[in-house]
């Protein structure tokens, strides 16, 4: 059931050849027909709060464009994410720092699944859960897991060596089996990203 739910949520990146013949589905952020996903975002960093709009657009099979707008107007970030890295199209002056941009890349890359595209993975399943662990190289890993007892949530974590960098959750709308919201939390500093799907 859990796996079926995951499968049903594939939209942006799915079933690419992997070690086991097919890469398992990962939560999708975009619609099938136009490859566009829009989310209301609340980002808390240190003592700062930012709310706005995030738009994901699939530009090709392995590239996702991300635009972050402040709620009341200006565009703050426009970048292309791919498994190989990111390209900054526009960044607000205060965000135009390598460390910040890399953090955004890893966070949104992990949430969107772009980081694991074509990466080797292993499956660990038990009676209660199903886990996919992707090796990103340089001791970095992303693991997605789901509890069979609760089909509404898929969790993930990004590890660097033995340290967990971020933990994230996908919450599903039981009526549509589509992602309704996401939450990502950094473990080494205070940064929380909440995304809530907007249906236009």
């Amino acid at each position: 059931m859990r796996f079926l739910l995951l499968i049903s949520c594939i939209i942006c990146f799915y079933l690419v050849p992997g070690k086991l013949g097919a890469q398992p589905a990962i939560p999708a952020l975009c619609k099938t027909n136009d490859s566009l996903g829009m989310y209301n975002i609340t980002m808390e960093f240190s003592k700062n709060t930012l709310t706005g709009l995030v738009i994901f657009k699939k530009t090709n099979d392995s590239t996702l464009r991300l635009v972050l707008n402040a709620e009341m107007g200006p565009k703050l970030l426009d970048m292309e994410l791919s498994p190989k890295g990111y390209k900054t199209i526009y960044a607000f002056k205060k965000l135009k720092r390598k460390r910040i941009l890399k953090t955004f890349y890893e966070d949104f890359g992990a949430l969107s699944g772009i980081l694991i595209r074509n990466k080797d993975f292993s499956i660990d399943s038990s009676q209660s859960s199903l886990n996919f662990t992707y090796n990103l190289g340089r001791q970095k890993k992303i693991a997605y897991s789901s509890e069979l007892s609760d089909v509404r949530i898929v969790s993930g974590k990004m590890e660097d060596g033995k340290s967990v960098k971020t933990i994230f959750h996908y919450f599903y709308d039981p009526a549509t089996s589509m992602i309704s919201s996401m939450k990502l939390e950094h473990q080494h500093f205070r940064m929380v990203i909440l995304l809530n799907k907007i249906s236009l």
């Binding site: 709310t51 657009k57 009341m72 907007i198």
Partner: protein, 224 residues
Amino acid sequence: MKNRKSSRSAGSILFTGILFFMCFNFVLISAASAQNYTPVKDVAGFKKLYAAKSTAMNTLKSDFVQEKSISMLTNKLSSNGTFIFKKTNKLRMEYAKPYPYIFVMNEDQIIIENDQKKTNVSVNSNKMFKMISQLTIDCVTGNILNSKDFDVKISENAKVYFLVLKPNQKMIKSLFTEIDLLVAKSDFTVDRIDLKETSGDSTTLIFSNKKINTPVPDEVFIVN
């Protein structure tokens, strides 16, 4: 061979002609739209009148439509809601569509409420929010004309004043290249604000159904 060459040159002449015709039309259209506005001769008089009207405005209630042009998207993103201002520094923008969202600035506090959560933000911890909301208030109240953060050009036609504001303050300049205002001559309220961003995108706020000085209780600026 000669025929092919001559047909190529005829083609290029035709192409040049079309290009010239399009450019000429563009110049004509631009000139025509620019002619709609003539520079205001008595700028000091305008500022005085605008300031007097602004001083007399204690509250403003209005509907608004926000249109956002993002280079990545072919269509504009449109949202709408209600706008409430109360002197001196209270603002409530309640977005109804496409999703509910409330932005309140109450003096030095900013409250944001969406369906995820309600967030209280001190203006000191988010200078950008403060700047944008203050900018909106200043545009609506006309205080922007007194601001040293902008160079202002004022022109007019029969119905509106057209204000072009070029920012010279560092933070505003990092976000916006230009802010255009259309101010109604009838009551000196703002009809439209165009925020042109350094990224090339733009945001337009269009105000309608404006009500000046209707009672607005302070509770409006407290989000429960």
